[in-house]
């Protein structure tokens, strides 16, 4: 049980809670890196997924690109961009976006593709044009799946944003990398627990988003465990 005591002791150290290398500051940095990466990825993947899903064209290309991005080793992308652009936020964002785009893109595409063709016919029968069908019918119906994609991406990004510490930036990865350097086990454990905590917050946040954004008639279909 001394592991628990170690962690409690680490969280109990007063210097943890203040200053630029304290838990609140590192947590906030981690949230900022992750949030920015998720926003960038969503800005790329959601429109591409919606359009390819709606037109049915380019779906194969999008899936291939998503597979390619998923297979990219994060460390490799990070180090390559560091060599090209130097240390900074850009390499971290490149690595995280490569990680986050595939789940968002594929889920958005599948969400739109999966819309019942009869509903699409009905919308067209009501006089909706292509763009209206996409925005007023397909997007709301695909939304639960889009949110699943965003949540999967967000959890992976939160867990992987620790790599920012490898290139001299902050975030919760600092505790893990510095803890390793100082052979400070409780520090590594504490940092990891904070990352898991952030992932849990993400899960709760997406459950709330789902409740707020998804139309009531669509919500019943899938009750997600956690």
């Amino acid at each position: 049980m001394n592991v628990v005591l170690w962690i409690l002791e680490w969280f109990g150290r007063p210097e943890q809670w203040t200053g630029t290398s304290g838990i609140p500051a590192r947590f906030l940095e981690h949230v900022l890196y992750s949030g920015l990466a998720l926003l960038l990825s969503a800005a790329i993947a959601v429109p591409v997924g919606l359009v390819t899903g709606h037109t049915g064209r380019g779906g194969f290309l999008a899936a291939t690109l998503a597979n390619f991005a998923r297979a990219l080793p994060t460390i490799g992308v990070l180090m390559l961009v560091v060599l090209v652009l130097g240390i900074g936020l850009a390499p971290v964002m490149a690595a995280l976006v490569a990680l986050a785009v595939p789940p968002i893109l594929v889920n958005t595409y599948e969400g739109v593709r999966g819309v019942d063709p009869q509903l699409r016919d009905a919308a067209e029968g009501m006089g909706m044009r292509g763009r209206e069908v996409l925005l007023r019918l397909e997007t709301p119906i695909a939304l639960p799946l889009i949110l699943v994609g965003l949540r999967t991406a967000a959890i992976q990004v939160v867990s992987t944003a620790t790599i920012a510490a490898f290139v001299g930036l902050g975030g919760l990865g600092r505790f893990i990398v510095d803890g390793r350097a100082r052979q400070d086990f409780p520090m590594i454990l504490g940092g990891s627990l904070l990352v898991v905590l952030l992932a849990l917050i993400v899960i709760v946040l997406f459950a709330l988003l789902r409740r707020v954004l998804v139309a009531r008639g669509l919500r019943r279909r899938a009750a997600a465990p956690i």
Partner: protein, 243 residues
């Protein structure tokens, strides 16, 4: 920045039999055991979760929590116990696959049509024989879809294991490339890792076709099973699947 071209082909030619081959082999040794181990653990967990429903939510939450732990942290935390043995990489990577594989095993078993189950019972199959000879084979397409996602994710994550000095293509990227400020090994490492992931993915597709001859030539039918398989092959850890 130097004037040198981004990729030094001479280096690649010289090292093809040397450091590149060594790291690629290490990468193979570090990626396949976790995938197999993960499948071995996910199968009983998934079977139990499909049979006894209340088991599923805690199992899934546990697997998802593990998935949220940064891989670097798990490698660091295990390293003092397992040292520089492959287990330092194999255990965390196998744990990560559970979050992808367990839901797929459960979905695969749940989508076995009831009439198939009843037919097996009518033929006198007991629960165990029905599971082994009917339900599990019928679940193969969905399980294989999960296995494909898990293996691509594992092969790309093995690179992180190099941070604790376990070798693999990550070592090529970090030691040969980054520490010497030399992009060629980084690019070679990335591309080989992607290539390995694609080849493994392709091999799994072939394996699945070979194991499930009854799904061949039924593409046009686009039944629920293949639809579901496609959807769950898409995102990692998708609990909601497609309507």
């Amino acid at each position: 920045m130097t004037e040198a071209p981004p990729v030094d082909w001479g280096w690649i030619q010289r090292q093809l039999d040397g450091v590149i081959a060594d790291r690629l082999l290490e990468h193979l040794y570090l990626s396949f055991p976790p995938i197999l181990l993960g499948l071995l653990v996910a199968l009983p967990l998934g079977i139990a979760s499909a049979r006894w429903r209340p088991v599923y939510p805690p199992v899934l939450s546990g697997a998802n929590m593990l998935y949220a732990i940064p891989s670097i942290a798990l490698f660091y935390l295990l390293a003092p116990y397992t040292g520089l043995t492959p287990w330092t990489a194999i255990i965390p990577l196998a744990l990560y696959t559970l979050a992808i594989l367990v839901p797929n095993v459960v979905d695969g078993l749940n989508q076995v049509p009831d009439h198939v189950r009843q037919a097996a019972a009518a033929m006198g199959f007991g629960p165990l024989r029905r599971l082994l000879q009917v339900e599990l084979p019928a679940a193969i397409p969905v399980v294989a879809a999960g296995l494909r996602v898990a293996s691509v994710a594992t092969i790309s994550m093995v690179s992180v294991a190099s941070v604790v000095g376990l070798g693999g293509l990550g070592q090529l990227i970090l030691t040969e490339g980054f520490q010497r400020q030399f992009p060629t090994p980084i690019i070679a490492g990335i591309l080989l890792s992607v290539l390995l992931a694609f080849l493994t993915d392709g091999a799994l597709v072939l394996l699945q076709r070979w194991l499930t001859p009854w799904t061949r030539g039924r593409r046009a039918e686009a039944g629920r099973a293949s639809r579901r398989a496609r959807a769950s092959s898409a995102p990692a850890r998708e609990e909601e699947a497609v309507p």
